[in-house]
Symmetry: C2
Subunit: 503 residues, 2 copies
């Protein structure tokens, strides 16, 4: 390969095609594939992973990148070369055999996880989890780290972010949240009964599409389907596929899942299509991705202005069901704080305590300070400590998330980073868009979408996540904007003075 930027683009286009095919294989597996197709699908995905790995670590491609890095290139080309070298440097360090083995063991582990849940048996899952922990430790050693092996794993999802960078933030966060949960717990509880009336699924489907359309999601470049666990599949900015789930007796379930995935979807659709297949056409990190979904779900979807927008839509899509409800009541129902066992059902205040618990446990696991068989008891203990509730089943406890069965360690913290980024970004948007509340109440979400597109989406991987945060919000990532946002909302909702809810 001669070191021209064009040959770089040609090589990336091949790699991109494999990644797009992988995106479809994975989306289809969760939404469309008949059950007996699983084995062939696992094989197909493993082979394509291997081919993509080969293509990325190809020594000739390495030389091409080195050659281009030594040239004076336009800024956007430099960024692409820098980021592709970053990806390649990591991939080169991981033996192909380890890539394949992780893929193989995690296929087995996913089945074992399901069986363990059905049988309430930790022993069914723990040997494979143990294997996955060891494989990921090998990966961390292969990749290398400065402080602790967990950093090497976290870096795959959140570039340039180490545990030491965020630990002080997380300590402040834990303290603030525990205090807030206790203060709210002493007040009379609210309930979300109005969202748990009978909302026919056809109406929920129509409402989901309507809200996504109003948010600015382009259905000519995307879809909305159903899956057990809602997710967003990335097949490039011209084909973004969201899923949600419908429960006739729980409108909040589909509505907030849809808005959440819609936030992810707008990020994907907002990536520059003319950079597709290169880092400048890719999302920068899972933390920033989650900031988009949480911003739309919580800071838009559960806001007071949104209740004004939502109320007439409820009356339109579910005649007679919620005619007695006003926007204030709807807003309260969307913001019930109540410690619970299951992360995906947690409210805005308690959610990050679920994440902190996971982060702590998996960090100790990867360090080797605890073993997999310590997890069930530690889980119960820490749930009691942070949230005051304790699971009686594994299914509602340590076996609730699918992530570990995929071998995903270092992934959970990106959820909390997303929440912190979201609060900070939304505050910046609010400063730039003085009419934002009025616009949201009127269902005019385009100004916000376009602001996010301009400030974040269209930039792809131009800046690492923490730098992007500084560029967009004018300050380093911090916990205070998040805690203040919560206090400003839940203080009035639960009749708490600022001093009672914030330290």
């Amino acid at each position: 390969m001669t070191a021209t930027y064009d040959s770089y683009l040609r090589h990336m286009a091949q790699l991109h095609a494999l990644n797009l095919a992988q995106g479809l294989l994975s989306w289809d597996q969760e939404t469309m594939m008949p059950p007996r197709g699983l084995e062939a699908r696992a094989h197909t995905r493993a082979v394509l992973s291997g081919l993509a790995h080969d293509m990325l670590v190809d020594p000739a491609f390495g030389e091409l990148l080195d050659g281009l890095a030594a040239q004076e290139l336009p800024h956007h080309q430099q960024v692409n070369i820098r980021e592709t070298r970053r990806d390649r440097d990591r991939a080169v360090k991981i033996p192909r055999e380890l890539v394949t083995e992780i893929s193989r063991v995690s296929s087995l582990a996913q089945k074992a996880w399901q069986q363990a849940r059905e049988q309430e048996s930790w022993a069914v899952f723990s040997p494979l989890l143990q294997e996955l922990v060891q494989l990921r430790r090998r990966e961390a050693e292969a990749v290398g780290y400065r402080d602790e092996p967990y950093d090497a794993l976290l870096d795959a999802y959140e570039p340039d972010t180490r545990v030491a960078d965020i630990l002080p933030l997380l300590d402040t966060l834990r303290e603030g949240l525990v205090r807030m949960v206790r203060a709210i717990g002493e007040r009379p509880p609210h309930d979300d009964a109005v969202l748990r009336r009978r909302y026919p699924v056809a109406g929920q489907m129509a409402l989901s599409r309507r809200v996504l359309q109003d948010m600015g999601f382009d259905f000519r470049a995307g879809r909305l389907d159903v899956s057990t666990h809602p997710f967003t599949a990335d097949l490039g900015p011209t084909d973004v596929r969201l899923t949600t789930r419908y429960d006739e007796n729980d409108l909040g379930n589909s509505l907030f899942s849809t808005i959440h995935e819609g936030g992810h979807g707008l990020y994907e659709q907002g990536l520059p299509a003319d950079r597709a297949g290169t880092p400048l056409g890719e999302a920068v990190s899972l933390g920033i991705h989650e900031s988009q979904s949480r911003l739309w779900e919580n800071l838009v979807g559960r806001s007071r202005p949104f209740a004004d927008y939502l109320l007439p839509l409820l009356r339109e899509h579910f005649p007679g069901v919620a005619d007695d409800v006003d926007a204030d009541a709807l807003y309260r129902a969307c913001n019930v704080v109540r410690p619970s066992l299951v992360r995906t059902e947690a409210d805005e205040v308690t959610y990050n305590l679920h994440i902190l618990l996971r982060l702590e446990l998996e960090r100790e696991l990867v360090r080797g300070n605890i073993g997999v068989d310590d997890l069930p008891a530690l889980w119960r203990e820490r749930m009691r400590e942070y949230l005051g509730v304790e699971p009686t089943t594994l299914r509602e406890g340590v076996l609730q998330d699918i992530h570990w069965s995929f071998g995903l360690f270092g992934y959970f913290p990106t959820y909390t980073l997303g929440n912190l980024y979201a609060a900070q970004i939304f505050a910046a948007a609010r400063a730039d868009l003085p009419e934002l509340d009025k616009q949201m109440a009127a269902g005019e979400f385009y100004p916000l979408r376009d602001w996010l597109r301009e400030k974040i989406h269209r930039r792809g991987r131009e800046l690492p996540p923490r730098e992007l945060c500084r560029a967009v919000t004018g300050r380093d990532l911090a916990v205070e904007p998040f805690l203040e946002t919560l206090a400003a909302k839940f203080g009035p909702l639960y009749a708490l003075e600022p001093g009672e809810i914030l330290a």
Copy 2:
């Protein structure tokens, strides 16, 4: 690569994964993909085609195959090596650049074909068609042939079958059909009004699934979806995806499309899963594939016993719609013979005249005896000659099929071969299954499905299609069984004596 059968299997498993991914990419494009996803999809498919081509023509793989061919291997291994060499020998002769160019031009041609139909303009399509003809001629020259270039193209779909082999059959067929169509045309016409009442789509969907289930289609290893043109997607025997289409005022449309694709689907599900990814796990030819779909559609689905099975299902799924109809009337409605303009809507008698017309025109085109701009007039002329009807629009004439816009020349004859094979195979099944009519009337289709599985499906590419025909039916492919089957059905239906309908 050392010449062991295991290294052959490993290489084939990689190639298989690419083919499975291609299968999904193509199915999704027709059923699920949002419109703006087209460009990225075309790119993805082109790249994967290229990778699969590279993997097949890989010189080291060629040496491996040569080494294995020189060894004494068990029968099934010999067959796989023989057939893979066959595939590879063809692929090696076709320059990669030609593969890519055909893919590129046919992407453009498909769009042009759609525009040409909308605008009723041959000129919009003809330049690209001209290019495709030239590219395919180049392919034929590269692949080589004995008699005429068309053979080299036909061979890709129907191995070991040359025009000279089937020409005498087709002449007999044309003569017999033209005679039969004229004889029936002199009788009072039947109508299918009973199938054109209002059949709600939900009921049609339920009926489609029910019929497929009774045929023995395994929904744990397959799906049924909707697309503009019904087709069957092959993602291996554990994931077979059918499509159909629903028209509230045309029950026959969905019913016979579903049964037709169900026949294809049973073939795919009946291929031996433990041979998946090797020729012994693949369908032997398009002609044999079409024999399965046409056998179920026409020889089962439009038979008198099937009407007995269908009638109570109609009453169950569409209460009150067809209560006045008896099985005889239903049978007559399913078997109306009427010369028409559009192939896909043609009945069992006139259908093959549509194919013969196409075969003749494309054979002349590839030979260079006619040019693309001669097609519209020749199409009209021959329609008048064979069927006595003449299109007034291009859309109902020369622009009705999508095949040429894909550059598929040599594909159409496999439809007629399928019809001939079907009649001969069904006669053999009937001889082996003396209770067949009784079973079909009772909805017991498993004996027939299992007979087809045993005799045809499970054999994969063990025998070339014409040998398979001899092995299953005890005789060479012939036209007489087909014409006799038609005469035995349509003679009584149209009150014609054997001498009036057969020569």
